[in-house]
């Protein structure tokens, strides 16, 4: 059961499970601390991915793009 549950985590989070499937999965999670931990780990992984900060635009890159813009406006 655990082995199947771990493969259904994304479907679960995406709301892609049927009502019955979701109920069975949640019942398992309530009874299984390992799968609950697995779900928590997936959730924190997703949250960390969401916190990835893009590198700041370098001044050189900004200059290049402004140049591109001015060329386009002129041309």
């Amino acid at each position: 059961m655990c082995q199947q549950v771990v493969e259904l985590i994304t479907d679960y989070l995406e709301g892609a499970l049927s009502g019955g499937e979701r109920a069975r999965l949640e019942a398992h999670l309530a009874a299984c601390p390992h799968c609950s931990e697995y779900l928590a780990q997936m959730r924190v992984t997703i949250e960390l991915a969401g916190r990835v900060e893009p590198a700041a635009l370098s001044p050189a890159a900004r200059r290049d793009l402004v140049h591109l813009y001015r060329q386009w406006q002129a041309g």
């Binding site: 493969e7 995406e14 892609a16 928590a40 991915a49 900060e53």
Partner: protein, 197 residues
């Protein structure tokens, strides 16, 4: 913070400042997405430059039916796909069904025999820690291309499932499979990291 909609209007009016603000806002996200399609950072930068050119040329035609961000991504993906093909980069569609957790970690009944050590709470407490976020950024770079594309769009950029499917030309089911495999791989890599204490 100036709304995208206002920037679009100002850009249509030829306001260079609006262009610079847009670039500051989106350039690095576009580069990150481009690198999931093309082999080198240099090519990715070229693709994004072409994208910006496409943006200024096409801004008159942008009707605002999608968000500006989605529209930017669409232009980028089109350019990146062309460049990817040009650079002979093949994008295998990894929808092979296979376990995302090592089967050796389960017993004959399918229950955990080698369960995950608890670190989710520790990681939650460290969410603001720059090092952890930077680490995850590196780990994402190590994902297989097609998983990375979905994870970057969905989890990093916050695009909807529908937008991700449209941009990457994937069915909802395929997109979910790639998302699942990418996330599971990241979790596993984090597990190894967190295990180092």
């Amino acid at each position: 913070m100036v709304e995208d909609a206002e920037l679009v209007e100002r850009l249509r009016a030829g306001d260079e400042g609006a262009f610079v603000t847009l670039v500051d806002r989106y350039h690095e996200s576009l580069v990150r997405l481009a690198t999931t399609f093309v082999p080198s950072p240099a090519v990715a930068e070229e693709v994004v430059q072409e994208t910006w050119l496409g943006v200024v040329r096409g801004i008159e035609r942008f009707e605002g039916r999608s968000s500006l961000k989605t529209w930017l991504y669409r232009i980028l993906v089109n350019r990146a796909r062309t460049a990817g093909v040009r650079e002979r980069r093949t994008v295998p569609t990894d929808v092979v069904e296979g376990p995302t957790v090592d089967p050796a970690r389960f017993d004959g009944t399918g229950a955990w025999s080698d369960p995950p050590e608890a670190w989710a709470e520790r990681a939650e407490e460290r969410l603001d820690a720059e090092d952890l976020a930077a680490r995850v950024r590196d780990l994402i770079d190590g994902l297989p291309e097609n998983q990375r594309q979905v994870v970057v769009l969905r989890d990093v950029e916050g695009a909807s499932a529908r937008d991700a499917c449209a941009l990457l030309d994937l069915s909802e089911a395929n997109q979910r499979v790639l998302l699942h495999r990418g996330r599971a791989r990241l979790r596993r890599m984090l597990e190894l990291e967190m295990g180092k204490g």
